[in-house]
Point group: C2
Chain length 408, copies 2
Amino acid sequence: MKQHFSQRVRGAKRSAIRELLKLTEQPDIISFGGGLPAPESFPNKELAEIAYDELLNNSANVLQYGTTEGSRTLRDAFITWLEPQGIHTTRDELLVTTASQQGLDLLCKAFFDPGDVLFCGLPTYLGAVQAFKLFQIDTVGVLLEDDGMSIEELEAQVAACKAAGKTMKGIYVIPDFQNPSGITLSLEKRKQILDIARREDLLVFEDNPYGHLRFAGESIPSLYSMDTDGRVIMLVTFSKILSAGLRLAVMITSQPDLMDALVRTKQATDLCTSKLTQHLAARYMLEYGLDKHLEDIRPIYREKRNAMIDALEKHMPKGEGIRWTEPDGGLFVWVWLPEGIDAQDMLARAIEQKVAYVPGSAAFVDGSGHNTMRLAFSSSTPEKINEGIRRLASVVKAEIAANKVGTS
Amino acid sequence: MKQHFSQRVRGAKRSAIRELLKLTEQPDIISFGGGLPAPESFPNKELAEIAYDELLNNSANVLQYGTTEGSRTLRDAFITWLEPQGIHTTRDELLVTTASQQGLDLLCKAFFDPGDVLFCGLPTYLGAVQAFKLFQIDTVGVLLEDDGMSIEELEAQVAACKAAGKTMKGIYVIPDFQNPSGITLSLEKRKQILDIARREDLLVFEDNPYGHLRFAGESIPSLYSMDTDGRVIMLVTFSKILSAGLRLAVMITSQPDLMDALVRTKQATDLCTSKLTQHLAARYMLEYGLDKHLEDIRPIYREKRNAMIDALEKHMPKGEGIRWTEPDGGLFVWVWLPEGIDAQDMLARAIEQKVAYVPGSAAFVDGSGHNTMRLAFSSSTPEKINEGIRRLASVVKAEIAANKVGTS
């Protein structure tokens, strides 16, 4: 039946990592694999009360089709929530999407022809890479430094694309506690990226799932809030700040032309997002407050992050070229292993030792990053994090030893 | 900002009909426009109880990410429900989608390159046409007769596409009470379409939102149940049989290759469908029974359909070339007006008279059908249906009179 496949799915293979990670559902495995929000962060009692009331008393509305643009109640609640963040917007500038993965799908559809160039981090979010590849976008990776994308390399890549006559369309940025690296883009670099985008007439796609989960340090203004000519499109998902199961996000653009294209595209994609889940989020925001909720859940992530950093310091071998990020928020720690080690290859051994992670290489669009891994601290307890890192460290030590033997 | 648009959105314009239909939200307008399920058909109390329980006692599951393939509970419940319909399937053959519009999006992505041919009815479902156009598919319309797609014309179109060297990929069929026409495909023609698909190695996309809303006559077996070599992919949405607001459907294929491509495609599109809405549907099926529910709601639609047919017979002018379908199920009656009348043009006058419908022409991929309109009887009361048809008949009479004056 493969003769029926489109070009866009012909090249792609089922992910080997994904198959390996399925093994991590076994209860005795400590998994740092999936980037899952902490289940104890879900305000389930409040949502249960709201759901009961909405279904009982507002069913002709919440069980019916909604508008493609999204519920007015939710958009209005969102506008109010954004104001103190320096983001001043209106109802017509917001599009509710079936979580941010759909936002990425819509951006690809509306703005990219096959071969168009999109600049992204090295590494960047794997789910975004999958969406970009499906639309045959030419993803050009730009090295991430400790303060985000290398501006020097971005400039060099822009120049190279120009010289090659390529059509450059945009820059994809996850500014805060980036997935997978946990790296945050500095204020100075945000400004420089906006300057380059303006000069080259590029769109900027600012995907910010983790920014509100900052548990230390000072917030940095969003690129959207610093944008002067409407070229930043921002995606804010509810997945990590309220619930991933609601499948809800909001996409923001101040440009009516862009919004019009996105709305038409969404209409052909899934008609509308669930009114029921939209009303759950909207009423939660209005009746309980999302900022109050965020204050409550940030300590959950801080504790887990600290447990992971402590465990890494305690168990991981030193002086072998191993290092890791120490993020002030988000869900992930990123680990660089010694050059000789292939984290994808090592995963099978880690699973034997009942611990799992995501090898970094799939997040590098240039095929590099073989010696990196992403550790999600978000969905384990501090005790499990310590034990999992202990197991992982022993796997790494064995790998280094075997590697030395192998290369001697 | 339009310089950033992809080719696929460049051509498309915001629908004039859609803008007109926004006016129909005014409470004094009787709208036969949107194909909305009857709100009184939603089992809201039962869903409220289930939602409360799931959110209170199963939140770590339903508020978390789910697998791309969909909830096992829902897929298992669906398998059991399909058995008596002659559809024998397994969990691996089902993919839960964010309603059937997403199913169409995934089919386009997985199987169509720009310019590939898809055969569809004249008319066919407007939402499907929008998805097909977004993927630059060459949609070839085949005239619908009283018993469905003209086999003679389908053969002629296949021959023409072959002669032109085009790549033919599939046939899109809405077999029961088709949207927009209300026409049902006969058993004989289902077999003939399967024969042609086999001979030409085409996929068949069987989209069946209305088949379970049959309130008179005998059911006809699905194409999926008669398929002998796995080329039918079936879409069954919950939108009309349980609730449109849950945004849930199931896509079925017996071919692992095709399923694999669809799963990978969905992963890049929205990762997964809401676990919460999946569990609402699954538990409703298990605890209350979907067949029992369907028995309860079919009379609602029968009464509305009868009211509309009665009103058409009572109010519409006879002998002017006006005729309409009399469906045994579904949501729609389809009306052919005299050749000289443009239903899209007439809509503005109808709205002045406080009645609305969907002009048929947008549902014809060849641009014909200017003298047709779709009337949804599903979301009005019998009284409103009678009054709305009375208003509509007066608009039609005036149009015929003006037309005669105009052409004399």
